[in-house]
């Protein structure tokens, strides 16, 4: 399918593809096995100018918007959906700054992120506040010109590796969701420590860790937007970042499809390549159709966001929902096409299947995406009356 990419977008795609092939493919198995953070690859991404794709040029980025981010994340995820997450999760941690940061905050933090020197992370989830983010227990209490943060954030992607954290904490519990506030907290701030490192099923090259705030003093000037706007920051961040997860899911699916297709042409059973067997052909046909449909939806969503259109919560949730469900089905089918070999670690599809699963869970589960889509549908219907 021709998506009519500009010359610059094509360059982004080619650069990410070249990097994935030459730098990530040879080491993805090692990183998956050892579960260590791929700093050497992050440096390569930074040197190739890929870490600041979505950051405006005035802050040292490429100014390519959400679409540029999606193109790169898709290409990298075709090869490794774990390593690509260093970029996608940094974007998630950077959107609060891009969307709500003051000029001073942007000028201070964005250039370091754009150059790839610093990674970012977004901290909303807690042990008892997952889909129900309003139930969070982390507090921020005003003390003079500062706020004192206490509490533990859980499952934070890039946790421990990132320099800049966008953290949502309750400043006024009585106000419920209007009592949350978003802060920028830098690594190294006294009282800000890293806790448990998670041992995960997939995306094992990505760091997932607890953030522990113990009387951590953060200056009031680090507030994003205003006190009480924490959930508005969070919701808008997720609306902008979900296409990035969708692109990760899309990349994983496309990578698995490619592996299954190549294999089916080589594997001979009953005296013929299995690609000649109609049962296999139909599986491949379904996989390819779903991948292309996911791509069309993700690209259209990213382009809509970049166009300046204000209302995109619904399509953002749709793209994340659809692409992640496609990723799970396609990677599972890729393992099926490859049979016993697909199940073995000698081939990359079992890893792709493990990596795909998280895309249905984080940044809002598939069920939460459906809630969001339904909510928007009903709102739209109500307006039509």
């Amino acid at each position: 399918m021709n998506y009519f990419l500009t010359e610059e977008q094509q360059m982004i795609l080619d650069t990410a593809r070249a990097l994935a092939k030459s730098k990530i493919k040879p080491v993805r198995e090692k990183y998956d096995e050892e579960g260590i953070f791929p700093w050497d690859i992050v440096k390569e991404m930074a040197a190739a100018d890929l870490m600041g794709l979505y950051i405006p040029e005035q802050y040292g980025g490429m100014g390519g918007g959400v679409f540029a981010l999606c193109l790169a994340v898709e290409e990298l995820s075709k090869v490794c959906g774990g390593i690509s997450l260093a970029m996608a999760a940094t974007a998630l941690g950077t959107f609060p700054l891009l969307l709500f940061g003051s000029e001073e905050q942007k000028a201070k933090y964005l250039p370091g992120i754009a150059s790839g020197k610093h990674l970012a992370a977004f901290a909303l989830t807690e042990a008892n506040a997952g889909s129900d983010a309003g139930n969070m227990a982390t507090t921020a209490v005003r003390d003079g010109d500062d706020y004192i943060l206490n509490g533990t954030k859980q499952w934070i992607t890039n946790g421990g590796e990132a320099q800049i954290y966008s953290v949502v904490a309750m400043t006024n519990k009585a106000k419920g969701t209007r009592g949350a506030t978003a802060f920028i907290v830098e690594k190294g701030t006294p009282g800000f420590e890293f806790g448990k490192k998670e041992n995960k099923m997939g995306i094992r090259a990505s760091a997932t860790r607890e953030l522990v705030f113990n009387n951590c003093r953060v200056p009031a000037k680090n507030i994003l937007a205003k006190e009480g706007m924490g959930f508005i920051v969070a919701v808008n961040t997720l609306n902008n970042s979900r296409p990035g997860v969708a692109a990760q899911a899309l990349g994983i699916a496309a990578g698995a499809l490619e592996e299954a297709l190549l294999y089916s042409r080589q594997r001979v059973q009953f005296g013929q390549p299995i690609s000649s067997i109609q049962a296999v052909q139909h599986m491949l046909a379904n996989m390819a159709t779903e991948v292309e449909a996911a791509r069309a939806l993700v690209y259209a969503t990213a382009r809509t966001i970049d166009s300046g259109e204000k209302s995109f919560a619904k399509i953002s949730a749709m793209s994340k929902l659809f692409a992640s469900e496609v990723a799970m089905r396609v990677t599972t089918d890729a393992v099926q096409v490859m049979g016993g070999y697909g199940y073995m670690k000698e081939y990359p599809v079992e890893k792709m299947m493990r990596d795909a699963k998280i895309t249905q869970i984080y940044e809002g589960t598939s069920q939460i995406q459906r809630n969001e889509i339904a909510l928007q549908l009903i709102k739209e219907a109500a307006k039509m009356k």
């Binding site: 610059e8 360059m11 650069t15 070249a18 990097l19 040197a47 100018d49 490429m62």
Partner: protein
């Protein structure tokens, strides 16, 4: 410090086909790329510049107009400038004529402190042009460099790869070095580099731009190398099949190699 890297456009294949009529390489339909060994040379120059915190890297190539493409590739990797020497009078030049031409370009550039080349080009595989330039310019040369231990404006200390280990050599600068692939891992072209490269138009020189250039030294006529005949050798596989039951076949095979005094 100004570093000049000499690069070459080559065909992207190790299976070079020759035209039996003219004895020259068939380039039609074969993709052209930057000589892979030259990527290591470009990378090393960029690293020296980065290590020293200042400087300039210029790539120079001799070739037809389409050789601008490899200059753009080098610009994408991060070099500052590129120069193409291109002239019909240079067609058919051998390694000596090429070395003479490139030395004239280097004389024109003048202010370089160091010249880096790949250890050889993958088409001709002669590895001669670098040392010949050293001779033309009367410069010291360290070939087959696998590591630069230290470098300053006036001095280089480098490890030269040998068959049985390595030598550590020091040389004053300016000097010329050729590098082997063990020296580094070339970077990819960055996005910003590619964008600059897309618009970059390298300086193109003809022999008329080179003061005192002697046309008699170059081209097919000026080249000391004369090619009388080139051909692609026919490969002949003379295998013998030893048939029969495995035990008997093994015994027959053993008899044969005993007769041939291999065992």
């Amino acid at each position: 410090m100004h570093i000049v890297v000499l690069i070459k456009q080559v065909v992207a294949t190790t299976n070079v086909k020759l035209d039996p009529e003219t004895g020259t390489m068939i380039r039609d339909g074969v993709e052209s790329i930057l000589n892979p060994f030259d990527e290591y040379a470009v990378e090393e120059a960029l690293r020296i510049k980065e290590r020293m915190g200042q400087g300039k890297v210029t790539v120079v190539t001799m070739g037809p107009p389409q050789a601008k493409e490899i200059i753009r590739k080098a610009v994408g990797m991060g070099v500052d400038e590129g120069i193409l020497v291109s002239d019909r009078l240079l067609a058919g030049s051998d390694t000596w004529a090429t070395a003479y031409t490139l030395s004239q370009v280097l004389k024109k550039i003048g202010d370089f402190r160091m010249i880096i080349t790949g250890k050889q080009a993958v088409d001709g595989d002669t590895a001669q042009v670098g040392p010949e330039i050293a001779a033309c310019l009367d410069l010291p040369m360290i070939a087959w460099v696998r590591k630069i231990e230290s470098i300053s404006e006036t001095q280089i200390r480098a490890e030269r790869l040998m068959e049985d280990g390595f030598d550590v050599l020091e040389s004053p600068l300016p000097a010329i070095i050729s590098v082997v692939k063990e020296i580094n891992e070339p970077r990819l072209e960055s996005l910003k580099g590619k964008m600059r490269a897309k618009k970059y138009d390298p300086q193109v020189l003809t022999v008329a731009d080179l003061p005192g250039f002697e046309v008699s030294q170059v081209g097919l006529k000026g080249s000391p190398t004369k090619v009388f005949k080139t051909f692609t050798p026919q490969r002949q596989y003379k295998g013998e099949m030893i048939a029969g039951e495995p035990a008997q076949a093994a015994a027959n095979l053993y008899e044969k190699i005993k007769t041939l005094k291999i065992v």
